[in-house]
């Protein structure tokens, strides 16, 4: 970590030209990965990311300079560069750091840096063997383990001094199957803000079964019907809300009026059945943090309550334009990115419907159990995402799997069309969300729910 006196000097230099607020974000991160393909380790990597991002703001302007020259001269030079963008009178600011201490709610029981590559390899071997044993149609199994240990220091001109250590561990599996005519792949990642115990606690047998059966199942899949239809999404499908409304509730686009939900606080934007929260405090969840990347404690933010828009995800800088306080949602991929408002763990709360009854109520439609990635344009509300796993529903019964499905829609319509919400809420997923401040880990969640009408794209 950096020395307090040096950070003080850097902040002082950054404020020299009249900046109102200055911040230092220091990061020292080790990323380890090990990939096994076809029973053999194919690659092993060890990377160090280390540097500082200095931010100075004045009104609705910010300057951000990042560097990995961590010498005193290097840091002062970077601070000077950031200050150059502001031309005003220096204010006298007395900075007294008050070190904020907290107890982490994301304990690491087994530091992944203490686990040898050999031991990690053993787990990949067992997982691979289990996966190969699941089917005679397997062409290739790929298993990998990734761990990241990020030490951060966030200090600012208001006297904030926070240090944190964030440890992530994830196990991934992909299966490619080939029946001589068709080739399919399925993939899953199980990650958490935990140490290597994350891998040790995974039921490898069940993980292998989940992924291999997902790939094999596609041999019997039919082309997805296309058009507008009712859709039931199981409680694994939380990414729907990430795209359909999460991004459009981020201050990044709301503050400048570039979101369909800007200025709609207090208005109804979804059906009464929908209550959506973004919670950065869930212990050990992949998308959680003790403090965000501006050093603000994460919290549970309610965004939509019974269909009414009640809150946005707000970072310090955009909060000024909106006259709102930060919500502990400011994040960045690494020190080269200025932070901005992002999601953590976004999920819909349980409703009252029985999931089985929801399915049974559909005469003809689609049952979706797994989504791939998607995207949204906050300014229009148009979103799309890829469906990895879905089945036709006929007369209330889940039937054949379908392939090649896509959902598109507009946030405003789709949220209103949610007319049944199950009682089986679940937060899951080990997602990586890419946006303005880079790629950050996120989780999603929801109960089983029914959308009365949405456009499904498919080949039939």
């Amino acid at each position: 970590m950096l020395d307090k006196i040096l950070v003080l000097d850097v902040l002082d230099e950054a404020l020299k030209t009249g900046g109102e607020f200055a911040e230092v974000f220091f990061e020292d991160k080790i990323t380890n990965s090990l990939l096994m393909g076809n029973h053999k380790i194919e690659s092993s990597a060890f990377d160090i990311t280390c540097g500082v991002g200095i931010r100075v703001t004045k009104g609705f302007f910010y300057a951000y300079v990042s560097t990995n020259d961590l010498t005193r001269d290097g840091l002062l030079k970077a601070a000077h560069k950031a200050a150059q963008a502001i031309k005003s009178e220096k204010r006298n600011v007395q900075i007294n750091f008050v070190e904020e201490k907290f107890k982490t709610v994301h304990p690491v029981l087994l530091n992944p840096l203490d686990v040898s590559k050999q031991e990690k390899k053993e787990y990949l071997s067992v997982l691979s063997q289990k996966a190969y044993a699941k089917s005679d149609k397997i062409k290739r199994i790929e298993a990998s383990v990734l761990d990241k240990t990020q030490k951060v220091l966030i200090a600012n001109s208001e006297g904030l001094w926070v240090e944190d250590k964030r440890t992530y561990t994830a196990l991934s599996l992909s299966a490619t199957v080939d029946n001589g005519q068709e080739v399919y792949e399925d993939f899953s990642r199980k990650g958490a803000m935990k140490g290597f115990e994350q891998v040790k606690n995974i039921d490898l047998e069940a993980f292998a079964e989940e992924v291999v059966s997902g790939a094999v199942e596609q041999f019997s899949a039919v082309n997805c019907p296309a058009g507008k239809m009712p859709v039931v999404i199981s409680n694994n499908g939380g990414v729907l809300f990430h795209e359909a409304c999460g991004h459009s509730l981020e201050a990044t686009s709301v503050a400048i009026g570039a979101s369909v939900f800007a200025g709609k606080k207090g208005q109804k934007i979804a059906s009464d059945k929908v209550t959506l929260v973004d919670d950065g405090t869930i212990p050990s969840a992949w998308g959680s943090l003790n403090v965000d990347d501006e050093g603000v404690k994460t919290r549970r933010n309610t965004l939509i309550k019974d269909g009414e828009l009640v809150g946005y995800l707000v970072d310090r800088f955009n909060g000024q334009r909106m006259n709102e306080q930060p919500t502990g949602s400011s994040r960045r991929q690494d020190y080269t990115f200025a932070p901005t408002s992002r999601m953590n763990n976004t999920y819909v709360l349980s409703g009252t419907s029985d999931p089985q009854e929801i399915v049974a109520s559909v005469k003809k439609g689609l049952y979706i159990t797994k989504f791939g990635g998607g995207s949204v344009q906050p300014a229009t509300g148009d979103f799309n995402f890829t469906v990895y796993k879905a089945y036709v529903i006929e007369n209330g019964k889940v039937g054949k799997p379908v392939k090649g499905a896509k959902l598109i829609g507009n946030s405003a319509d789709v949220l209103m069309n949610i007319d049944m919400v199950g009682n089986d809420e679940k937060v899951s997923g080990t997602g990586m969300c890419g946006s303005a401040s880079g790629s950050v880990p996120v989780c999603h969640g929801m109960p089983t729910l029914h959308i009365s009408s949405i456009t499904v794209g498919g080949q039939k």
Binding site: S43, Y62, T455
Partner: protein
């Protein structure tokens, strides 16, 4: 300690350990960007970044590590990590460093018009860009972002076999992203320039292109779900191409992540109208380079010629495995990459191409490309935007719809290619392309 000294110490440590094969790749990059919002400078970002990669080959296996932390005491640990990474690898694919032999082409990569760019008042340019965007059409309701950026990078590659290469890279752009509204629905558009042409210095023309694109989409109608013929706008087809280029990688094929096979070379895999070129020597190309990530000389080649597969992307390791020569598409790791990859232009104009289409859909934007294409099965399903084409003319805009199909079939279904080849601030280019058998779904 300077970086040069640091590198010398890394080399010394490798030698001390008795390593015969080691390689140092060092990157220096700096970038600056500026944004204007509501006629004020809203953001000014800059970064200086140094990255050092140490690669070693131990018993034919590759081990790598990268660092951004240059502390002398760490050198021992850094090299050790690279060696440990090599030691755990079991894969039988042998890896190689290159000794620097062979002919390296003299190339002229993309660079902005520096004199003119240095004189440009960037803040004034962005202010004008934003103001003009609002002034050009009153339906423009929000200029979401205007940004200018400049970057410069330097790469040095050296290894124990005698390789010693370096190159410089530049980037420059101005960008506008805006939305227009008809009172009910918003439509967005963006436009970018790369300051390598005189006309790129005109803020008004940049604003105009974006505004025209956004307002043209207003008043959109629903399109009928159907199987139809479509024209992909040049830049849009290039976007699609960028998501499928992995199918031509020998590495991806070797791992089964492409339907193509190594012995597909010489076979017909696409329509005879389709020719795909990877030209690392393209003058002013955005990925123009004389050597690849393995340090091997790059070469100009046709990947697909009139529908017949001619080359795949080979790096040194895959070339050895399949007893062929590297095509100079190495990454320095296991995978491969293309350089300036583009569809060869045809003989007819875009206007004539639309006449050939006669009736169908014109697609000028694809959404969710990063997730909607499965290279293994080839199935794709994407969000799309565009216009109805009637009697060979572009007519009504249509609401977002989906297009689906199979990319391996799509290559066969290319019916005609126009002559409007374009690289839009990137290394992947295409002319507009007419394709049949695309399934469209809407409400």
């Amino acid at each position: 300690m300077s970086i040069e000294q640091f590198i010398e110490k890394v080399v010394a440590n490798c030698e001390q350990r008795g390593l015969k094969k080691y390689q140092i790749t060092y990157r220096e990059s700096e970038s600056d960007s500026l944004s204007v919002f509501e006629q004020e400078v809203s953001e000014n970002e800059s970064s200086d970044n140094l990255t050092l990669q140490i690669s070693v080959i131990v018993n034919g296996k590759l081990g790598k590590m990268t660092t951004e932390k240059f502390v002398e005491e760490d050198i021992h640990m850094l090299v050790k990590q690279a060696v440990m990474n090599a030691e755990i690898v079991e894969n039988e694919d042998e890896v190689f460093f290159h000794d620097g032999s062979g002919d390296y082409a003299k190339v002229k990569p993309y660079a902005p018009l520096m004199d003119k760019l240095e004189k440009l008042d960037k803040v004034a340019f962005l202010k004008e860009l934003e103001a003009k965007a609002y002034a050009l059409d009153k339906r423009v309701n929000k200029v979401v972002a205007t940004q200018y950026g400049f970057s410069r990078g330097k790469l040095i590659m050296r290894n124990s076999l005698g390789l010693n290469l370096s190159k410089e890279e530049f980037g420059a752009y101005a960008y506008v992203y805006l939305s227009a509204t008809d009172g009910k629905l918003n439509k967005t558009a963006s436009e970018v320039v790369s300051f390598d042409k005189e006309s790129d210095f005109n803020a008004e023309s940049l604003a105009k292109k974006a505004v025209e694109k956004a307002v043209a989409k207003l008043g959109s109608v629903e399109v009928k779900s159907q199987k139809t013929r479509v024209v992909f706008e040049n830049v849009t087809f290039a976007n699609l191409l960028s998501s499928i280029l992995g199918i031509f990688s020998a590495y991806e094929i070797d791992k089964g992540y492409s339907k193509l096979k190594i012995n597909s070379i010489g076979k017909k895999i696409a329509s005879e109208k389709f020719t795909l070129i990877d030209n690392p020597h393209l003058e002013k190309g955005f990925a123009t380079a004389s050597f690849d990530g393995d340090g091997f000389p790059t070469q100009n080649k046709k990947i697909v010629e009139k529908g017949v597969l001619q080359h795949l992307f080979f790096n040194l390791s895959m070339a050895h495995k399949y007893s062929t020569k590297s095509t100079g598409n190495g990454t320095g790791g296991l995978g491969t990459k293309p350089f300036n990859l583009y569809v060869e232009k045809g003989n007819i104009t875009k206007v004539e191409l639309l006449k050939v289409l006669d009736s169908g859909i014109y697609i000028d934007r694809l959404n969710g490309i990063h997730a909607g294409v499965d290279l293994v099965s080839g199935d794709f399903s994407l969000g799309a935007e565009g216009f109805v084409v009637e009697k060979g003319m572009i007519s009504n805009p249509v609401n977002q719809f989906t297009i689906s199909g199979n990319l391996y079939c799509l290559l066969e279904d290319v019916e005609e290619v126009a002559d409007d080849l374009e690289f839009k601030s990137r290394s992947i280019g295409s002319p507009s392309v007419l394709v049949k058998n695309v399934t469209i779904a809407s409400s």
